[in-house]
Symmetry: C2
Subunit: 331 residues, 2 copies
Amino acid sequence: MKIDLENTFTRKRILITGGLGFIGSNLVLRLASMDAQVVVVDSLIPAYGGNTFNLEGVTQNVHVNIADIRDPHCIAYLVQGQDYIFNLAGQVSHLDSMEDPLTDLEINCRAQLSLLEACRRLNRRPKLVFASTRQIYGRPQRLPVDEQHPILPVDINGINKMAGESYHLLYSRIHGVPACSLRLTNTFGPRMRVKDARQTFIGLWLCQLIQKEQIRVYGDGEQERDLNFVDDVVDAFLLAAASPESTGQVFNLGAPSISLKCLAELMIELNGGGSYTLVPFPDNRKPIDIGTYRGDYTKIRKTLGWEPSTPLSKGLLRTIEYYRHNAERYW
Amino acid sequence: MKIDLENTFTRKRILITGGLGFIGSNLVLRLASMDAQVVVVDSLIPAYGGNTFNLEGVTQNVHVNIADIRDPHCIAYLVQGQDYIFNLAGQVSHLDSMEDPLTDLEINCRAQLSLLEACRRLNRRPKLVFASTRQIYGRPQRLPVDEQHPILPVDINGINKMAGESYHLLYSRIHGVPACSLRLTNTFGPRMRVKDARQTFIGLWLCQLIQKEQIRVYGDGEQERDLNFVDDVVDAFLLAAASPESTGQVFNLGAPSISLKCLAELMIELNGGGSYTLVPFPDNRKPIDIGTYRGDYTKIRKTLGWEPSTPLSKGLLRTIEYYRHNAERYW
């Protein structure tokens, strides 16, 4: 199936929650270049992914509205008149969710339900794409993990994202708000948070690499992850939004997997130097670690024609170059 | 396995949330008779199951504290010093959850997480038994439904109860708060709410029967349900609390199933008169109906030695008699 993305979004009105964040801002840039009319909502909470530099200088077709998705009045206003909603705002740190579970609940459950209620009351037209996570599966019981895999999250963030996704599917089925959900795996690329591992460990590793610190790999480094370059993930969001067939559905993203040890070696090689060390899991990480993960993305390939197209090395190289040039805006 | 229930709870300190409600109050009465020291917390919200008559005249061993489980300060105080917590407070109406999803979330998600946080901070000792629901399974994909059945709730209440249960299991696994969860199916008996179908359709049917109104059965009446008499459900709560083997586990309750048509006929026969009629599903009920349900309770039978022991007719007869004598306190 081939979807004509260029013409789908031209002059369309689009709301992107978390639009100053990592994936959100990459999505904004792509849509702005397609001549869509984009409203960004982002809270810029310092511990989260929002960063004004991600959209610095971008004014054509983009309006940035600083607000918290927990503010139901703001969201109720902003959903009106939209043709598409990309719903990426969220608390993403697993550790933070264990330390402060109620904040995670307010953002990943309550605010999501509140946004959907606003759509139900005020605008049931927009196609809504929700950024879900492979974390809801918990520790894989089989590999690769397809969408039928049991949902057994191992941390508060996983539980709340599971509920957040379920709300979207329910509002699609019962209330006719056309929503779908992408279960993201590890995404990396320009504009990710790198000052800590709150958003992704790859960001922290990259920061350590460029600052000539040793990369710290937890455990024996044999655990595998599948990594998507952000441009591919943006493609998936656009395809999911453009296709009526995605409505009411969930889709895994995914990629060929690599062990963390091999990933560290590859990043060091691409960087032209560096080192890594194996360290034991910290006490607070071990019980919520999920071991090896590899997603089965057959469904989205067959339904929407998506597959990851950026080779891992190429994506990592572009990422390293981006942060070499823009280090001071992300450290 | 045989657990000595009598001696387990003697002089133990016990908190029961929702203790003026249907199952909660039956549990209170049993525990008080075992010489346990029971604190009841109940909000008495008129649309919910709490009813002061359920514990009228009961003062020996029971202290009633009117409070909302959404009040974190109250709950933080009350969990301290307890040996057991039976956590039954909840919003249970599926229709209400669709109309007012955020209230359902506050009670069934946020307040649950808040109670668990209070345990984590202040008292990790009490065995905690959570009242979950078969509603989290959604429409059965196979019968009977065991605990491995996919979790695909069809309404907001099911989603929020799914999250609420997951929090309990997580706090058991990660934080050492010894919790378990019972997935209840349709429970009936003395002290249930009968003035509407918010808690159970059986209550409403019984009210219609005693008031000589026609029982209204939705659809073709062929859909099946498995019904547990409340005394059996109380047994399950006590066994789950008393057994260390239940910690971190979920258990279905269940019973042999009966079609709604046959159930209506049985109730009319036991009542010595009455009638029923088949009516189409109301528009707001049809999309959240789950069809036929029958639970597989092998796991709790093998692990805790529980099985339903009250024959359906006997339970219904006791229920009809109870409401004939106490109609004015429940209508």
